[in-house]
């Protein structure tokens, strides 16, 4: 392994004070909030000394029981919907929530993987999602794939494999390119710098899509093979699209899980996430590992986008911003950096969006999501499943 191939790491002396290990820095940032508040109160006089314990107890209680509070809230809203419209409405909304949640989960994983490994909120990720949806749309439209899919059952299978494989490959390459061009050079710069380039890349991709695909919804020709209901549960119709979305999302998430835990590259990713410098010392090619992370995250976003297009039948140039920011909340809810957490967080956000919206009126759906974001960051910055920082992968 040459000096160049391992990147800029070795040129920096390890353990030098101004450049602490990234992992320790994050741990501090995420866990220190209550302590920091206490320190400030202590310095501020006698009054504060009596006020602090009450504050600490309340804070501690909410923080400690945050997962339970969220779960109780979701359960209450599900029961509320049951009271509102009976089992049919509850069933319909549960179906809607699972479908929406599956899409958010696939995008949230991309956010969380990138954050886990380089501590960057990749704001371009939502737009990679939309862009890869357009890749799939163009591939399906221009290479006779739609005809192939309509020809026979076997043709359909081949068409699906081709569309997923090629779009995911293209999206992966896009992700790697973005990392190479916009983030790699800034890896050791102050955190604000790559954040700004991320926003820049996001606008760049949106502008590109606006110019190429126009301002309106682009109809992606929802495939006719997937029309109709698979089965009905009482009065709740479960459509083939619902099963496809959910099934595909679960398969991809388990495949990713196996990859991260079972393969050498997955192990490399986990170790890089835990401690980049130490991983480097162990001979892990950091650049390649980070590139792989971007590749996989973007490929999953592509899968999410194909699933989205099949479910909704249309794409829009600025869709990624909207969907992306909700998926980002899902990633934070699950504990940013925690892949399993992001998957579960996606489904929880789907439930909050749908059941909260059903009960409180659709105008509140997004307010609820972002209220949750604020609450998590205040009371439980590590998210529902991110408590054990060391085992985060």
């Amino acid at each position: 392994m040459t000096q160049e191939s391992v990147g800029v790491g070795p040129t920096q002396p390890l353990g030098e004070a101004p450049a602490p290990s990234p992992r320790r820095e994050r741990k501090a940032a995420l866990l220190v909030a209550p302590e920091g508040l206490i320190a400030r109160h202590r310095g501020s006089g006698v009054m504060a000394r009596t006020a602090v314990p009450a504050f600490r107890t309340t804070y501690g209680f909410i923080s400690h029981n945050f997962p339970a509070i969220i779960m109780i809230g979701i359960l209450a809203s599900v029961l509320g919907v049951l009271a509102q419209g009976g089992p049919t409405l509850m069933g319909n909304q549960m179906r809607n929530a699972l479908v929406l949640g599956a899409i958010y989960a696939l995008i949230a994983i991309g956010y969380t993987m990138v954050y886990g490994i380089i501590e960057l909120i990749n704001f371009a990720h939502g737009d990679v999602f939309t862009l890869s949806g357009f890749y799939a749309f163009l591939i399906a439209d221009h290479f006779g794939i739609n005809k192939l899919a309509a020809s026979s059952g076997f043709g359909l299978l081949v068409a699906l494999v081709v569309i997923f494989a090629v779009s995911m490959l293209l999206a992966g390459i896009t992700g790697v390119l973005i990392e190479r061009v916009a983030y790699r050079r800034l890896r050791d710069a102050p955190r604000l710098a790559p954040l700004i380039t991320a926003i820049g890349v996001s606008f760049l991709i949106e502008g590109f899509m606006l110019a190429f695909f126009g301002p309106d919804n682009v109809t992606t020709h929802q495939a006719s093979w997937i029309n109709g209901n698979a089965f009905t549960l009482g009065a709740v119709a479960v459509r083939w699209t619902d099963l496809f979305v959910l099934g595909m999302a679960l398969v991809l998430m388990f495949a990713l899980g196996a990859f991260v835990t079972r393969t050498r590259l997955g192990k490399a990713m986990r170790s890089t996430a835990q401690d980049r410098q130490a991983a480097l010392i162990c001979g892990i090619n950091i650049n390649r590992t980070i590139a792989t992370t971007f590749f996989i995250g973007s490929a999953l976003a592509a899968a999410g986008a194909i699933i989205y297009s099949i479910n909704y039948g249309s794409l829009k140039w600025n869709l990624g911003f909207h969907v992306g920011i909700i998926a980002f909340t899902a990633a934070v809810l699950g504990g940013i950096g925690n892949i399993v957490g992001a998957g579960i967080g996606g489904f929880l956000i789907g439930m909050i969006y749908v059941f909260g919206g059903s009960l409180a009126g659709g105008a509140w759906s997004e307010s609820l999501i972002f209220a949750i974001l604020v609450l998590i960051l205040t009371f439980r910055p590590v998210g529902l499943f991110g408590v054990d920082v060391a085992s985060r992968s």
Binding site: L89, N217, T219, N227, Y312, G313, L319, G362, A363
Partner: protein
């Protein structure tokens, strides 16, 4: 005098080359008089349009803009203002950030137009939310605004609707003289007609009402709800969702559960009108769908049909601007439009592709007539002070009685047209097809306009 005559003949030669100004005299009413006592008029008078031309509104705004521009071209080639010429400025109130009409951009446009001392009147804006931002600026600068398409009633009066449903009060809109006019009926008329259609024509008693949270959409939904209730119906549920919403299945499930018989959408297809219809189909619902003029476009059909049912748009109904394509008064305008813009790419080469095209044309002609009457009453010359000129134009607009492409237009004291009517359209074989025109008489009775 020699110089003027030479100028005139030069100008008419140029005009012949540019546009063969056919049909002006029939649709332009008194505009054919060729300047009357204004041959001694000197100078250039600027009129402008402020309409959304790019982004999500690129299939709406350019049509009234081209209609208004045609009116100016015709007036100049017919020397309607005699020796004075009209200079035309087109402003775009779209922004990249909003991907379409942007109130902030609109206000900035009016500010810059008002600062231009040669500007005496503006045709626009297209959207009510933009009008809310523009009217105070225009009113403060005594600048006449004539909208071809604003249907939010709150822009001219807070009395006919509960003030609480207005996002803005007229007192705050008009810090200066009342300078705003419109050549189209308001949502008061439209919502009343829509409720009449739902309750009396479709015979539905339970409605689920969507709106897109904008001044136009939320306003129309409120008025629909009021009249639907007074027509004997019940609103079983409602949802107010932002324009960025891409999935309406939660609310469709609620509508289904509430036993709704008709789905109403107050808003624009850019804000999800077609997507609601799409999700209705996805949930297997086959309820009648009713919307306002914001839904009546190609985007609605494309979006509706993008889901599992590729003919989901069929049967959906929406009221919209009066279908002027069938009015005998508008025929001359449409043929002049096609001649003038034959070199434009589709759909812009045919004025019939957008309902507001003749309204843009009439609005500009009304403005030009008002300028003309000011010039005439001022001894054939523009008033020397810009503010006086603008005030006089506003005065002249108040006594408008103009026979144009969409019929006989005059304004009441609020600036609203006395010629309000809407046409009901239905999607059939993938196209919006006009069904009937509905009008509301002064005592509030809805009837089919024959």
């Amino acid at each position: 005098m020699h110089r003027t005559a030479a100028f005139l003949s030069l100008a008419s030669i140029a005009a012949l080359g540019a546009v063969s100004a056919c049909g002006t005299s029939t649709s332009g009413g008194s505009s054919s008089s060729g300047g009357g006592g204004l041959s001694g008029c000197h100078g250039t008078i600027t009129v402008a349009t402020d309409l959304p031309l790019t982004g999500g509104d690129s299939t709406d705004g350019p049509f009234p803009q081209l209609g208004a521009q045609l009116a100016v071209t015709q007036a100049n080639s017919n020397h309607v203002l005699g020796g004075c010429t009209l200079n035309y400025v087109s402003k775009d109130d779209s922004s990249v950030a909003k991907n379409g009409h942007d109130p902030a951009q609109g206000a900035a446009n009016i500010t810059s137009l008002a600062a231009d001392q040669s500007v005496v009147g503006v045709v626009g804006p297209f959207n009510s939310s933009v009008a809310e931002a523009e009217i105070p600026v225009a009113s403060q600068n005594h600048l006449a605004l004539i909208s071809p398409s604003n249907t939010n009633p709150c822009l001219t009066t807070n009395q006919a609707v509960p003030a609480s449903t207005c996002g803005i009060t007229t007192s705050s809109l008009y810090p200066g003289p009342h300078t705003y006019f419109r050549v189209i009926g308001t949502d008061l008329t439209q919502g009343e007609i829509l409720a009449y259609i739902a309750a009396k024509q479709l015979n539905m008693t339970k409605a689920y009402v969507f709106d897109d949270q904008e001044a136009y959409g939320a306003g129309l939904a409120t008025i629909f709800k009021q009249h639907f209730a007074s027509d004997g119906g019940t609103v079983v549920g409602s949802a107010s969702l932002p324009g960025s919403t891409t999935d309406f299945s939660t609310q469709i499930a609620n509508a289904q559960s509430s036993g709704a018989q008709v789905i109403f959408f107050g808003g624009t297809s850019g804000n999800g009108c077609g997507l609601v219809r799409r999700d209705e189909g996805k949930a297997g619902l086959t309820l009648p769908f009713l919307g306002g003029d914001g839904c009546q476009d190609q985007k609605f059909i494309t979006d509706s049909n993008s889901g599992s049912n590729t003919s989901e748009a069929e049967g959906a109904e929406a009221t919209s601007a009066p279908d002027a394509t069938k009015l005998s008064s508008a025929q001359a305008f449409y043929s002049a439009y096609s001649t003038a813009y034959s070199s434009k790419s589709a759909p812009y080469n045919d004025g019939k592709n957008e309902p507001y095209t003749p309204f843009g044309y009439d609005a500009m002609n009304i403005l030009i007539q008002a300028i003309k009457s000011v010039l005439l009453s001022n001894g054939g010359q523009p008033p020397s002070s810009t503010m006086t000129f603008r005030d006089d134009v506003v005065q002249a607009l108040h006594s408008t009685n103009y026979s144009g492409a969409v019929g006989q237009t005059s304004f009441d004291s609020n600036g609203d047209t006395t010629n309000p009517f809407f046409t009901l359209y239905k999607v059939s074989s993938g196209n919006w097809t006009g069904v009937n025109a509905y009008q509301v008489d002064s005592s509030g009775n809805v009837s089919v306009k024959s």
